[in-house]
């Protein structure tokens, strides 16, 4: 069941995705500071190895659910950064026609069942999507991303219990970034190793260094293959760290001195660059990848800027798929 090794080009592809996420977020933070983005942002900077590693082997028909920190997952699933920026800008061409914003971006056709403003909110949805994938019997899977904080929610418990009981094709990916909003992990749960929670559901639980994208990819592929083969769900605890605050603007003063620096030394992009260099990829090639990403994001921002603002009347549209007589929306 162990995966085939990735080619050098495939690894460069992972690098490209990670750079795309990193730069998408840094640009978004900057654009928000400049006043172009009206709502909240919860940047994924520092955690790129998890989204990219987990999504590397997903196929068409597989679906994922995400969190408030969802841009990375959405980009890793192949979303268009232009439509994402358009949504952040609250414009008509945004993924949600300017009715969702960062916390609610969604593209079901892409297999992205949504970021989520509710901690733990995506876990039951992924479980249900997994149930439907099992019913369809085509070997497709659902992946649920969530943080360490979400593992204290009832939705986590109810969903993992159900998924294990019914052997659903779901991969639960806990991105343990060691903070539930502003509260460090040791103050919000009495255990250090979240993967152990899998034991209570008779589920496979595994810990992985989330900043090593290739390790994440190995572990995730094994879980996905098990799910495809009908062998049931897995709980993956990917240990990682967010370089920025809980949301853009949070100064993260709750961090002990030196902690961020330790993690910066293990930056997922830096680790993969190092690996690629040892495999003979030159600096020029990496620079070429980075330049390509900048160009793409430049275009994406331009697309968002050019997209029209919604018209006030659009606020009354799309409440229902089907409206009926007597259904005053005003």
């Amino acid at each position: 069941m162990i995966s085939q090794d990735l080619s050098r080009e495939q690894k460069i592809g992972l690098y490209r995705s990670m750079v795309l996420i990193r730069r998408f977020e840094e640009r978004a933070a900057h654009l928000r500071q400049q006043g172009f983005i009206p709502g909240f942002l919860h940047p994924y900077v520092g955690q790129e190895g998890v989204a990219v590693g987990v999504c590397a082997d997903l196929e068409e028909g597989d679906v994922i659910t995400s969190t408030h920190r969802g841009h990375g997952h959405m980009l890793a699933r192949g979303a268009d950064p232009g439509r994402m920026y358009a949504e952040l800008y609250a414009r008509q061409d945004g993924y949600n026609r300017a009715k969702g914003g960062s916390l609610h971006m969604i593209d079901v056709e892409l297999g992205f069942l949504g970021a989520n403003g509710i901690v733990g909110g995506g876990i039951p949805l992924a479980t249900g999507a997994g149930l439907q994938k099992k019913r369809e019997g085509r070997g497709r899977v659902a992946v649920s991303f969530f943080g360490d904080g979400a593992t204290n929610e009832g939705s986590f418990h109810e969903s993992l219990n159900l998924a294990s009981l019914w052997s659903l094709p779901v991969v639960y990916v806990c991105e343990n970034n060691f903070y539930g909003e502003f509260t460090p992990q040791h103050k919000h749960q009495p255990i250090a190793e979240i993967a152990r929670r899998a034991d209570s559901y008779a589920m496979e639980g595994v810990v992985v260094e989330g900043n090593h994208v290739l390790e994440v990819r190995e572990v995730a592929l094994r879980a996905v293959e098990r799910a495809r083969a009908g062998e049931g769900p897995t709980l993956i605890e990917a240990r990682t760290y967010r370089h920025r605050g809980h949301y853009e603007g949070d100064m993260a003063r709750y961090r002990p001195p030196g902690e961020l620096e330790e993690w910066l030394a293990r930056d997922p992009l830096g680790l993969l660059e190092e690996r690629l260099r040892t495999e003979g990829v030159g600096e020029e090639r990496l620079e070429e990848v980075r330049a390509g990403v900048e160009k793409r994001l430049e275009e994406a921002v331009r697309f968002a800027e050019a997209s029209p603002h919604p018209l006030p009347g659009e606020a009354l549209e799309d409440v229902y798929m089907e409206t009926h007589d007597g259904m005053a929306l005003r």
């Binding site: 659910t65 949600n96 403003g117 909110g121 992924a126 249900g128 149930l131 019913r135 798929m321 007589d325």
Partner: protein, 333 residues
């Protein structure tokens, strides 16, 4: 025409819709082998198999969330929430997730999930097994709310709810399960938002639904001897609401009484009264009267429960009160 019980009619609707559409499945606590606490799904698991009728752990958020998640990727699940009170445990999945999906995707996808809930009192069922929570969902844009009062409507509306592309909450009253009504052999889905004149009258319009509708009919009969002619409307669905039916009735009677079991404060009756005041003011000849549950939790003792819930006697009093009001003379400005 055959007579069919309300519970059995719902069971038939579920069965026929599962027969018709393989994407429909049932999920809930003890609905399979046991057939549900009120027997509505009895025999369906045996007939359709455990992959169409799922017995679940007691995990309301997990179950409703799973149904919503499955609906996002092509299923048409029907969830049974054993007692409507337990829907409180699944509110995130309904209010924050299912209700918002269509809107927040800019109308690109809907959540075709049906949530069946047992509502109201059945005698000494007390505070956590008796509530009428429909107003919460009426208040939540993105959700449709259905409240059938007869067996035929229950079957027709359940079919419509299952085929509807949006989340639909169906409130089934405990005391109606045993009620039998004439039901045709073939029942087509009833479009949502179409109410019904249950009884014609001239002097006053009473709007009511679920079990209270039958108390309202009883009140209407009893007032005939007093020379008060009562029209009774059953909206059948609360969202959408048949405004046309209400206004045409008020145009005739000019007086409105709303009766329901849920507490009056912030309830459906308040919404209907506001609708009449805002949109049908020129029809009204007297203040609107609400006959509702008291603004209390549901007590256990049967005599206290009887005090809290409106019965035919209280509805009749409400009707008398509005009819006694002198018709207001409208001045034109």
């Amino acid at each position: 025409m055959r007579r069919l019980r309300y519970g059995a009619a719902i069971g038939e609707a579920l069965s026929e819709e599962m027969e018709r559409d393989p994407d429909v499945f049932l999920i809930g606590e003890d609905i399979g082998e046991a057939g549900g606490v009120f027997g509505v799904t009895r025999g369906l698991q045996r007939r359709f198999g455990p992959d169409r009728v799922y017995d679940t752990p007691i995990s309301e958020e997990g179950i409703v969330g799973a149904a919503v998640g499955a609906a996002l990727v092509g299923a048409r699940p029907v969830v049974e929430v054993m007692f409507g009170d337990f829907v409180t445990l699944a509110m995130d999945m309904l209010v924050n997730q299912a209700a918002k999906t269509c809107y927040m995707t800019g109308g690109r996808i809907g959540v075709p999930v049906t949530v069946r809930m047992v509502t109201g009192t059945a005698g000494a069922t007390a505070g956590q097994h008796s509530q009428s929570l429909e107003a919460w969902f009426v208040h939540t844009p993105g959700i449709k709310v259905v409240a059938p009062s007869t067996a035929g409507d229950a079957k027709a509306l359940m079919k419509a709810a299952i085929r509807d592309p949006d989340p639909v909450m169906v409130f089934e009253h405990k005391l109606l399960y045993g009620r039998a009504d004439p039901v045709p052999d073939q029942v087509e889905p009833l479009p949502l938002g179409v109410g019904r004149v249950v009884r014609e009258g001239e002097d006053v319009t009473v709007v009511s639904y679920l079990h209270t509708l039958h108390a309202a009919l009883e009140a209407a009969e009893s007032l005939e001897d007093e020379g008060i002619s009562v029209e009774v409307l059953d909206p059948r669905t609360l969202v959408p609401f048949d405004r046309g039916l209400l206004s045409s009735s008020l145009r005739k009677t000019g007086r409105l009484v709303v009766a329901h079991e849920a507490p009056g404060r912030g309830g459906m009756g308040a919404e209907i009264a506001a609708m009449a005041a805002e949109e049908m003011w020129d029809c009204l000849r007297a203040p609107v009267v609400r006959v509702c549950g008291t603004n209390t939790p549901m007590p256990y003792a049967p005599e206290l429960e009887g005090f809290v819930i409106p019965d035919a006697g209280r509805i009749a009093e409400g009707i008398r009160a509005t009819v006694r009001q002198p018709a207001a003379r409208r001045q034109s400005f």
